[in-house]
């Protein structure tokens, strides 16, 4: 996915929306900026398929440099796919954070409210000011 086409949580998760079988599917990952700041990831905990997630709540956790950080969902919906192979090769996250570094896929709730997320320009501005 192209970063310019994605939406962003202020807490550095990205989301891209695709359409599969009549459903809106949100593909979610964490940004290159966050990965650079976190440095070496050593652990990641992910939700199970079927978990309900909602905007702003935790869906997973990562540990880097002895710091445990939550991952926050940018959307409401149900987890339909988890990129579980990532847990054993976290270094690959940094190789393609907006593509093969996706973390979960979520079937969006009917009222997705994606407009409350940042667009690319607003997210880059936030990172520049951090």
């Amino acid at each position: 996915m192209q970063p310019e086409e994605l939406k962003y949580n202020p807490s550095h998760e990205w989301v891209g929306v695709t359409h599969e079988g009549g459903n809106q599917i949100a593909v979610i990952g964490i940004t290159d900026f966050a990965l650079e700041q976190l440095t070496d990831l050593v652990y990641m905990a992910l939700p199970k398929v079927g978990t309900q997630v909602s905007y702003g709540t935790e869906f997973g956790e990562v540990e880097s440099v002895k710091a445990v950080s939550p991952l926050y969902s940018p959307v409401d919906g149900e987890v339909v796919e988890v990129h579980s192979e990532l847990v054993d090769r976290l270094e690959s996250l940094g190789e393609d954070p907006f593509g093969n570094g996706w973390i979960i896929k979520v079937r969006l709730a009917s009222d997705a409210k994606l407009d409350r997320l940042l667009d690319y320009a607003a997210y880059k501005k936030q990172c520049a000011e951090a």
């Binding site: 807490s11 700041q37 976190l38 070496d40 050593v42 956790e61 540990e63 880097s64 440099v65 002895k66």
Partner: protein, 265 residues
């Protein structure tokens, strides 16, 4: 409002963890900085948040000790002869911490700044007490070698940039839990070798701690002082839980006392 720096008494493992959790919540609710230094009422193993419980059983010297799981990352610590500290602060305070890592403040990039803030002060404290301690600042790459170091069971057998070492032995490390609203940082200063972790070497090995400045109260004052300066928030030094700005009651149902939490991995 002013923050609080608590010179606390020794408590059980799960009471220590539950109290630190409450401080984290209070930091968020009250937008207030908290510091606590403490010891443990019995030798206790604290596991890092992501450590498998099976690794705890495999560490034979500490078998049989009380065990808790921290909410912070990093490796296991055998709390026997150590001073432990906890800092709980609102995330908004992190941007005030201005040091070499200051350009990376903000939530995700804040870890180095808060680690450095505390560790720089403790190195100075130790140096003044006669210990030739310094921060471990070797290049932390390649990542694979670094990850291997991070997988040792005991925190004090691991190495991360910024850890405090003395004579090649790690004597202090810290770890964090970061949330949207507040951050919790734990750290431990290893005073002496414990029979429950006989491979580790504490400060007593160097026998330099005869200085009058090397005491628990000054340890708190030094950490509190550097945080006051870094965050520009005044801290009240207190010695009793009743002086905290919230009511503390012993949480019998705390997750930290439950096997479901301690053995969750």
């Amino acid at each position: 409002m002013a923050g609080y720096a608590l010179l606390d008494c020794a408590r059980s493992g799960f009471e220590n963890m539950a109290l630190d959790q409450r401080l984290l919540e209070a930091a968020s609710e009250l937008q207030c900085l908290f510091v606590r230094v403490y010891q443990w009422s019995e030798p206790t193993v604290s596991l890092g948040y992501f450590q498998p419980y099976a690794e705890r059983d495999a560490h034979r010297p500490s078998n049989g000790l009380a065990t808790v799981r921290r909410s912070t990352g990093g490796g296991a610590i055998v709390h026997h002869h150590d001073w432990t500290y906890c800092v709980a602060m609102p995330v908004s305070f992190l941007s005030r911490i201005d040091n070499d890592s200051g350009a990376r403040t903000g939530n995700v990039g804040a870890a180095p700044a808060l680690y450095d803030c505390i560790h720089d002060e403790v190195v100075d404290f130790l140096n003044q007490a006669g210990f030739a301690a310094n921060k471990w600042n070797r290049t932390c790459s390649p990542a694979t070698a670094q990850n291997e170091l991070q997988r040792q069971f005991l925190c004090f057998e691991r190495r991360s940039c910024g850890d405090i070492e003395l004579g090649g032995h790690k004597v202090m490390g810290s770890a964090q839990r970061r949330g949207n609203q507040a951050i919790l940082q734990h750290g431990s200063l290893l005073l002496a070798t414990s029979p429950f972790a006989p491979n580790l070497t504490g400060l007593a090995h160097w026998q330099a701690g005869e200085s009058a400045i090397f005491n628990f109260g000054i340890f708190l004052h030094r950490i509190a002082s550097t945080l006051e300066s870094a965050t520009r928030q005044e801290l009240n030094i207190i010695t009793a839980l009743e002086e905290l700005p919230f009511r503390w009651h012993w949480p019998i149902d705390s997750k930290y006392a439950q096997d479901e939490w301690t053995q969750r991995l």
